[in-house]
């Protein structure tokens, strides 16, 4: 949580820096970590891979309002010979929304480190099915929960300017910490996402 506000203040305090912030749109992939052992039901990786997009509006020389939507889904077949029962598919899909500030500093026309601080929300849906080949199976169960959270990240952006800098292709890599309150599924229990997050994106700056 701490690095992002500090980076923002630092960027605002640098009057000699070139105008850096631009409107932006990006297509992104990334992941959010979860330390929750119950996540093993959906994935053995300890993280939720996500894909999505981010847009930003530069309202200040160094600061932009950024918002994003990402989605991830993982699932596995669960069961066990020792249990004496048939298998079932457990799938988790989530929409992650974020909105916050991004501060950057254009060290060169092609290089701009940045930091973000965003409020976030996670809409997680658990789907269970013990006969996935039968569309009319009674046990096609679904549970949805929402959890608020926050993201703090720092990263670097590489730009390829066109038309005298009015338009640029860009790619960025950022890492940080994501924290979400536990997703509370009444009957199922809780599932928590928090920990390291990483995102890579490609897009345009204009």
């Amino acid at each position: 949580m701490r690095p992002a506000p500090l980076a923002l203040l630092a960027a605002l305090a640098l009057p000699g820096a070139a105008l850096a912030a631009k409107d932006e749109v990006s297509l992104e992939i990334g992941s959010i970590a979860t330390p929750d052992p119950d996540w093993d039901l959906f994935s053995g990786s300890g993280r939720l891979s996500t894909q999505g997009l981010r847009g930003g509006w530069a309202f200040h020389d160094h600061v932009a309002l950024v918002g994003g939507w990402h989605r991830g889904a993982r699932g596995m077949t669960a069961g066990g010979e020792g249990t004496g029962q048939s298998d079932f598919v457990a799938a988790f899909s989530a929409h992650a929304f974020s909105l916050g500030a991004k501060a950057d500093w254009e060290l060169a026309p092609w290089l701009a480190p940045f930091a973000t601080a965003r409020a976030a929300g996670l809409l997680g849906r658990v789907r269970l099915d013990d006969d996935s080949e039968d569309d009319e199976n009674l046990n096609q169960l679904s549970h949805t929960a929402f959890a608020p959270g926050a993201l703090a990240t720092a990263g670097v952006e590489l730009r390829l300017p066109f038309h005298d800098g009015a338009f640029a292709a860009a790619t960025s890599l950022e890492m940080g910490y994501a924290w979400f309150a536990p997703l509370a599924y009444d009957e199922l229990g809780h599932l928590a996402f928090r920990g390291f997050t990483v995102t890579w994106g490609v897009g345009a700056r204009f």
Partner: protein
Amino acid sequence: MERRLAVVVAVLLAGCDPWGSLPADGYETLDEALWDDALVAAADGLYVRLPRAGKLVRLSPEGEVDEVDLDGASPESLSLAPDGRTLVVFDTWPVCESDDPDVSTEEECEEAGGEIAWRHGLALVRDGAVVKETEVPAYFNELAYAPYVAGEPAVAVAYLDYAGGDIEVTGVLNLTEVLFVDLSTGDTSGMSVGFSASNVLFTSDGGQAVVLSRSQVVVVDLTGESYETAVTFNLTLDADQEVDALGAALTPDDRYLLMSVVGSADLYVMDLEEEAINIVDLAGAPAAMAVDATADRTVLVYGGRAQADLMDHDLFDVESVDLDEPCTALVPAGDGVVLAYNDSQATHDVYRLDAATGDVEEYRVPNPVTDLRVEPGGTWAVALQREEWTGTGSPIDAYYDEHWVATLLDLASDDQVDLLLGSEPVGLAFTEGDGGRPYALLLLSGLDALVEVDLWNAEDTTLELPSPATGIGATADGRFWIAHDRALGLVTLLDPEDDSMTQVWGFADRGLFPDDTLPRLDGQEE
């Protein structure tokens, strides 16, 4: 502006939902099943254990699902008391043995250097709620119930049925103890009754409990304010000799206890009134014993001898009846009739024994019998038989050998009908149709249908089920429950009056995400 719009549209299209179906990229092996299909049918509904979640749920007759609050304990086993409305639950819960008072989860316990220990309880559940729970030693795993007499205190005895394996020992373990449970109040009291109690019987009025243990039988009076030993029978005077009960039964007048012994042809006859022991010499160690109240005689069969013995309860004289094949199992059919078969060898005989006269009727069935049930009216029996691979006989014999078989036995006319089954039977129940017409309800492995067999004419009809079933049983309201092989829980309630079905599903996902919170922090060990 157009350029900006094109970029935004392209990104939005790329962000469309790429998951049309459930992702399933791997396999997670679960240690325990989500639900236990050995349902317990009480007056207020079906109780189902959820082993992985450590929960207990009740399926009401209307199909609603309620969770029973066990205060964080996990149900280990369930049984129904004879009153039909009291569920007795052996449960367990973790506690942290640590000096740190702030520990609230198992992880915190380990971080604080503590150890997780497990406590065990016996809970009484009525109408979906715990009415009393008592902490008990870990090793009790069996319950014997006194007969239910309306208005009288109901009693159960908890004891260890040791079948090998580890028993958790914390402190001192007293394997000579059994636990008497007052099912009305939940109060318990322990009593030492001899080493390793193996069986508990009750007199028909529930006034006395007879506890069988190694080389000793203890009769406990249950009618007083406190349970007290009435009689102790020592079965040997030689401390080096061990006498372990194999089978036991009380005579219909509750006066005599008959007890066969492992590896011995001696039958102990204990007079509970005169406090005397008599030993009857039998032809060998009996494999099974059944007391018939109508004939007031006891039927005994032997695994190594093709004979049945009929013993009266006055002078304990034995009348032997020759059979063609040895038998190891007896099934009382009522009115002085006992059925005998062999459940351990590849024999093909089922016998109908008249316990009063000694008359024998032999039924020859195609394959070895694995189970034999008598319908409530006592007129029909169904013998389930496994496949066998003899490689001999005629082609039709070989065809039978390759299949499971259900033989319908008419105990009145001695007719029989052999029905070939497409797969292994996994459930059998009986019901009665119009005019008292009896039906056998048969579930076959992998078949998503219930087979109804009219026992009068051996005609069968099938009722389609939503998926293959794993078990069947009767409910308190005259319906049948059918458990299905569905991981997330599926039970069908069948009304035999009109063959209507109600499904209850999806109850086994409760507690899918268990946490490690210690449920009973007040009970932490310091």
